[in-house]
């Protein structure tokens, strides 16, 4: 318990150091653009593939669970849309990014720590925490909502292709279903969750990387901790945000 509180305190102290005035805004801007490509744009591929199959599976599962003729078939499209919007695109994308981006951030910063690159920054008079972490936070907070929107779109398309190919729903019914009783607030809800998850993934992973002591073994352990802790926090905040935003 004491160790947990100590870690929590260190996490907030690191955040305080991160959110201080940048030395040279232009250098930070360049770094942020680089991180947007590295952490955001480079994740488009994996998000697209996962979302496509996610949408396909949701559609097929919904179809096989609503085979009763009482239910109109357009409900398959509606169910697919709402599942993707409310849960899968933001949460599953968050968990995937916790694995991909989180481990990358923790190992990058951890390696910089054990190879004295962070010490080199500090010796120069650079606020290493701010220089290394702030651009990553900004990049993921700006870019991840786009990833979620891509995930939603691709998931719905995946559901449509799978549903019509398997013959469980007609194209017309699916399109009617995804338009039926649409609540725009669900998109806002998904984006809010994405923003919180992006912040969790980046800061928790950066914290584990920044606090590494030792060598390559410890960097690996930090990377694993980053993924595990980010994923647990994403699931925890998923519950909290759902209660706060949908109740």
């Amino acid at each position: 318990m004491f160790k947990f509180l100590e870690q929590l305190g260190n996490y907030f102290l690191l955040l305080k150091k991160v959110f201080s005035k940048p030395e040279k805004p232009y250098v930070y801007y360049k770094q942020t653009m680089h991180e947007m490509v590295f952490l955001g744009f480079n994740s488009v591929g994996i998000i697209t593939v996962i979302s496509f199959f996610m949408g396909a599976v949701i559609t097929l599962q919904t179809a096989y669970n609503t085979e009763n003729p009482i239910y109109p078939t357009y409900l398959i499209g509606l169910g697919c849309r709402d599942s993707i919007l409310l849960e899968f695109s933001s949460t599953i994308t968050g968990l995937i990014l916790a694995g991909k981006v989180g481990s990358s951030i923790a190992s990058e910063i951890g390696t910089m720590r054990v190879t004295e690159q962070i010490d080199a920054l500090e010796t120069m008079g650079v606020n290493s925490a701010s220089y290394l972490i702030l651009p990553k936070i900004i990049a993921t907070i700006v870019f991840n909502p786009f990833l979620t929107l891509i995930s939603i779109s691709v998931g719905i398309v995946g559901g449509w292709i799978a549903g019509t190919s398997a013959g469980v729903i007609t194209s017309q019914d699916y399109i009617y279903g995804i338009q039926y009783a649409f609540i725009p607030y669900y998109v806002t809800y998904a984006i809010i969750k994405t923003l919180v998850f992006a912040f969790i993934i980046t800061t928790v992973s950066a914290f584990h990387g920044y606090k590494v002591e030792g060598g390559s073994l410890e960097v690996g352990q930090a990377s694993t901790k980053a993924v595990v802790h980010s994923s647990i926090l994403i699931l925890l905040f998923n519950v909290i945000l759902t209660q706060l935003l949908l109740s």
Partner: protein
């Protein structure tokens, strides 16, 4: 000039440095020598503020460094160049970007001026036509020289080198030593070098302090070191067979 007065540092209640007092003079190559684990790196990192000291004073000219806040330390650190044991070049940046980094962060120079300065610093350390290479494409000696170029890019008043010869062959090590000495004299820097390489000690050690188990045991120059009667120092200096032979020859006259 850097003055250290009664510096103490411990980790988890285990003392690592005890009552270290020493003055490092400008324009001279000051060496901290000692066995592995004697506290050399801790002392160097304490002087640059990477380790918080338990008590004592660290003066940069007339500024009490260890009592400064983060902003105050930042100002001093802009006058510090440091060469780390593993070079600590930024992996994702090219040689040119590494050397240009301090200029980007702390100067208002135009891009052209910065590139000129980078080329000057790289030429000064004899690195030519390597601007676009990544650190992973460089040899150990080249990495050290690029790290020196980065350390001097802002014309520092103080240069710190943590085991600059580690992992280098003897000839490259001599080149690095000579470069450090030349730069120190050229820019009148206060240079502090951590080493356990006796070649460096004899070649560039204008002022030497010897640490043993975190205690300063001896202070002098490379001219005095061979004639010292300090036992821990003699054990360190004459540790290898060649040095032992040399010592017995000296004793026999």
């Amino acid at each position: 000039m850097i003055r250290v007065i009664k510096l103490n540092k411990s980790f988890n209640d285990q003392p690592v440095l005890s009552d270290i007092s020493v003055t490092f003079e400008p324009g001279k190559t000051n060496l901290i020598i000692g066995r592995s684990g004697s506290g050399k790196t801790v002392l160097l990192k304490s002087i640059v503020g990477l380790h918080e000291i338990d008590n004592g004073e660290i003066w940069y000219d007339d500024i009490l460094f260890n009592k400064l806040d983060f902003k105050g330390k930042k100002e001093i650190r802009r006058e510090i160049g440091m060469l780390f044991q593993g070079s600590a070049l930024f992996d994702s940046l090219t040689v040119e970007q590494n050397v240009k980094f301090p200029l980007d962060m702390f100067t208002e120079k135009s891009e052209e001026e910065k590139v000129d300065r980078v080329n000057f610093c790289l030429a000064r350390v004899n690195i030519l036509n390597a601007n676009k290479l990544l650190p992973s494409e460089l040899s150990g000696g080249m990495k050290k020289r690029v790290a020196i170029a980065r350390a001097i890019s802002l014309n520092p008043k103080y240069l710190f080198c943590d085991e600059p010869n580690s992992g280098l062959d003897p000839l490259t090590a001599i080149l690095i030593d000579e470069l450090i000495k030349e730069l120190t004299e050229e820019y009148s820097m206060t240079t502090i070098v951590n080493t356990h390489d006796m070649n460096s000690v004899m070649k560039i050690g204008e002022k030497i302090i010897f640490l043993s188990d975190g205690i300063k045991c001896w202070e002098g120059s490379n001219k005095e070191i061979l004639n010292s009667d300090n036992i821990p120092l003699n054990d360190f200096v004459f540790a290898n067979a060649l040095a032992k032979q040399l010592r017995s020859s000296l004793k026999q006259g």
